[in-house]
């Protein structure tokens, strides 16, 4: 059963005009477009077509100018009686119980972005130490894992021969460093945003389960993303380095102090501007904080 909220025709509402001016129809835009097209088509047919197009385009321009100068041509349209019904079949609305003066913003507290960045950097160091340890202990060269990592985005790494994989290359090192730093920072920021959502055992979830799932995903797609790394990878060490990142990043993030979320504050306050009247007063008469 529809609930009728208003049956008053809009045109009969107080203040509604009886007639309205709208731009008058005109053929000149069509003429100009046709002329312009013929002007171009003449290049592939004959010059006569271009000349005809130019004449039409000129006529179109003049006609269009006369349409808007000195006064725009408009036509008066009578306002039709309309039967507008603003109704709804769904009068029952489910709402969250929140204070009347403000909508719900969740989560209430979160980590600042800097916490995520710090966590990402700390995790990056932990991961790099393990990866380098793998390089030294298992492969015999600290540069080995670095050269493999760069192949994600750097095609020159794919061309390295077996012997070259164990030696230092400045370009590969720079790209691996930037890539590792960038991805670690982004994942750290993601941790900072996500960990408040996992109220119980954030380290287990974010530091252990997350990296294992991520490693599983990489296991399936690494052949596409980085064929070089896929052909040389040592999975136990790889998963260990992912877990090391997750645990260290998680610990560093959770050590930071949380802050109230500020989405409910107006932009001026978030920008640090202090002035009266920015926040509407509460019912008890106090200014909002």
């Amino acid at each position: 059963m529809a609930t009728l909220l208003t049956t008053e025709p809009m045109s009969e509402s107080p203040g509604a005009p009886r007639e309205i001016e709208v731009p008058a129809p005109t053929a000149w835009p069509f003429v100009l477009a046709f002329g312009f097209t013929l002007l171009a088509a003449g290049l592939v047919t004959t010059i006569t077509v271009s000349v005809f197009g130019a004449v039409l385009a000129l006529a179109g321009c003049i006609g269009w100018f006369r349409e808007v100068f000195p006064h725009e041509h408009e036509e008066v349209v009578p306002v039709l009686p309309e039967d507008i019904r603003i109704t709804t079949e769904r009068s029952i609305v489910e709402r969250l119980p929140i204070p009347a003066y403000r909508r719900a913003w969740l989560p209430v507290h979160t980590y600042p972005i800097s916490a995520g960045v710090k966590g990402g950097w700390a995790g990056a160091v932990a991961m790099a130490i393990l990866a380098c340890a793998y390089g030294v202990l298992k492969a015999g060269s600290v540069w080995y894992p670095i050269n493999l990592l760069a192949a994600v985005v750097y095609a020159e790494s794919l061309k390295l021969g077996p012997a070259q994989l164990y030696s230092f290359h400045a370009d590969t090192f720079a790209i691996a460093l930037v890539l590792h730093g960038l991805v670690s920072t982004l994942v750290g920021v993601l941790y900072g945003a996500m960990l408040p959502m996992f109220a119980r055992r954030p380290i287990v979830l974010g530091g252990l389960i997350g990296p294992v799932l991520w490693s599983g995903l990489l296991y399936t797609i690494l052949g596409f993303l980085n064929p070089l790394l896929a052909s040389h990878i040592d999975w136990p060490w790889f998963i260990a380095s992912q877990v090391a990142f997750g645990i260290v990043a998680g610990i560093v993030v959770t050590k930071q102090s949380r802050k109230p979320t500020r989405e409910n504050l107006p932009f001026l306050m978030r920008a640090g501007i202090e002035a009266p009247g920015i926040i509407p007063p509460r019912e008890n008469g106090e200014d909002g904080q």
Partner: protein
């Protein structure tokens, strides 16, 4: 339905001679009529390009098939691609923008009504000029009629030595003419959204459709302009002895690639962002929940707009760029997946816990979500230079971008047509025919484009005229073609539904979906002036405020 019929007492509709009606449509500057013209024109070209696709699929149905000649095959895939992108995809989305943006922001018309008409006619005549090549190019020179250099028109295929006659010129001129039309429409959309909003409609209260079309229009300005410049350069090469793209005379074929793809990849987002807008309007209404994360949706769209302008050369991994360029474009391509993923999560968040109504528009939206996600994932795969170098120019790429453009754009457009058809015509499209259309199109789509990945992975190159039997491609190609015909049957059902429902469909009333945005606050179809009184809005969902006064 919230209301069944609108009666307009005291209104008499006089029958007009058809010549008068035609004159009214040709001279109209009304944004709604121009929107309808854009949509009809695009649907016409959807049929034309669809028939071209079917002929391509008949040719590839069996190995060693000779349904068409190799020359005709080249013309078919060139015309199919060019038509679908420039004369179907963009016009239909411009049509919806034209029709909906002024209504949704409470304006009486676009900011520049005459420019609007001019832009439409330029776009339309560009399309007709392209197809005039079938007559004009062959008639004068006998050197092949329709363009056949592919929709990228890579140099040196477009040079006079490899493309004698005028077929390539028709392609260039048609895109040039329609390109000016696109730029005009983009300027109009931006000016309308920024300057014509009704009182109370601040930027942060604007419907997402308006926001996303604002981003789309900005991208059109940035993307179409380089293409237009490149078309002029190509004309100079072909007519005035220029050497911009002539590698034998100091020019650069790579230059054309950069110019084309700095248009071509943002163009994909120009096509998909309005479909994101449809999703953002339709999914909340049929989930009976407000959109999840409005500010994030806006931010993600703006972010996509920026990042997608810096990914173009991932189409060029195999042409020999240096490793630094490959690395840069791999990273930016991966990065554009982040805001896109955010949007998908937000649509799912909107549906989560909602009371979902599985009407036809919503069915198309749900299919869109799944298919666009899949298309995005294969896009991420191809965005990796290492992966791309193995599968570029294969049918895997063809499958990927058809998954995006059909699974994304065409499904989005169908959702929009079912959702706003009642507003445009005053009648609701038949639900039974609509569901038949949806399921047939869905089955046909997946049969065609899921399977199309397989011959690509097996090494089948794109654009080949025919192939040897026994390479593992035979059965798959047959099934792919069968899927194409199932889609064609679905489109015929849709066309029949459009016509039948126009005359005999259920009356829509002004608000058949119980929706919340302003276009549903006026009659269906709306009067020439849109709103008798300019609305005053106080929230993102002005009709919700009227329907639920207890909320205020």
């Amino acid at each position: 339905m919230s209301s069944n019929a609108i009666t307009i007492p005291g209104v008499q509709i006089d029958e007009k001679p058809w010549v008068d009606t035609l004159h009214e449509w040709v001279t109209t500057v009304d944004h709604k009529r121009l929107g309808v013209l854009y949509i009809l024109y695009a649907l016409l070209f959807l049929v034309v390009a669809g028939v071209e696709a079917l002929i391509i699929r008949i040719q590839l149905m069996f190995p060693h098939n000779h349904f068409v000649s190799p020359q005709v095959f080249n013309r078919l895939f060139t015309m199919h691609g060019t038509t679908m992108v420039f004369f179907m995809g963009m016009p239909i989305l411009f049509g919806f923008a034209n029709y909906l943006v002024p209504l949704m922001i409470g304006a009486r018309d676009m900011a520049f009504p005459r420019l609007n008409a001019f832009s439409f006619w330029l776009s339309a005549m560009g399309g007709f000029l392209l197809y005039f090549s079938l007559v004009g190019a062959n008639g004068l020179y006998g050197a092949g009629n329709a363009p056949d250099a592919g929709w990228w028109a890579y140099a040196p295929l477009t040079a006079r030595a490899f493309s004698p006659g005028h077929s390539t010129d028709y392609w260039t001129l048609a895109l040039l003419v329609s390109g000016f039309g696109s730029i005009g429409t983009a300027i109009n959309i931006i000016a309308t959204i920024l300057c014509m909003r009704c009182p109370g409609m601040k930027l942060n209260r604007m419907p997402l459709l308006a926001w996303l079309n604002l981003v789309m229009a900005g991208m059109v300005l940035l993307a179409v302009s380089p293409l237009t410049a490149a078309q002029f350069m190509l004309l100079i090469d072909r007519y005035l002895g220029g050497h911009f793209f002539d590698t034998q005379a100091g020019g650069s074929a790579m230059l054309w690639m950069h110019f084309f793809w700095i248009f071509g990849h943002p163009e994909v987002y120009v096509l998909i962002i309005p479909c994101f807008a449809f999703m953002s309007e339709i999914i909340p209404v049929f989930s009976r929940k407000p959109i999840f994360g409005y500010p994030v949706m806006v931010a993600a769209t703006v972010c996509i707009g920026f990042v997608s302008m810096s990914v173009w050369a991932h189409h060029m991994f195999s042409v020999g760029m240096n490793s630094y360029a490959n690395s840069f474009f791999t990273i930016t391509t991966m990065a554009v997946g982040v805001p896109t993923g955010i949007k998908i999560f937000n649509w799912l968040g909107t549906m989560w816990g909602g009371k979902i109504q599985f009407k036809v528009p919503m069915l198309f939206c749900i299919a869109f979500l799944f298919q666009f996600l899949t298309a995005g994932l294969t896009g991420i795969m191809l965005g990796s230079a290492a992966f791309d170098s193995q599968l570029t120019l294969s049918y895997f790429v063809v499958a990927h971008f058809h998954y995006t453009l059909v699974g994304g754009v065409v499904f989005g457009v169908f959702a929009a047509l079912y959702y706003w058809y009642p507003k445009i015509t005053g009648r609701i499209l038949n639900e039974t025919l609509g569901k038949l259309h949806f399921w047939l199109f869905l089955i046909g789509f997946h049969l065609t484009f899921d399977l199309m990945h397989i011959p690509g992975l097996l090494g089948m190159p794109r654009r080949i005229y025919t192939y040897e039997p026994g390479r593992g491609w035979d059965t798959v190609n047959l099934l792919i073609s069968v899927g194409g015909f199932i889609q064609a049957i679905a489109v015929v059902i849709f066309a029949a539904n459009l016509v039948v429902s126009y005359f005999k469909g259920k009356k829509a009333g002004n608000d058949p979906w119980d929706a919340w945005t302003l276009e549903w606050a006026t009659s269906s179809p709306p009067p020439a002036y849109n709103f008798a009184s300019i609305p005053l809005v106080a929230s993102r969902r002005p009709l919700w405020d009227l329907k639920h006064p207890e909320d205020q």
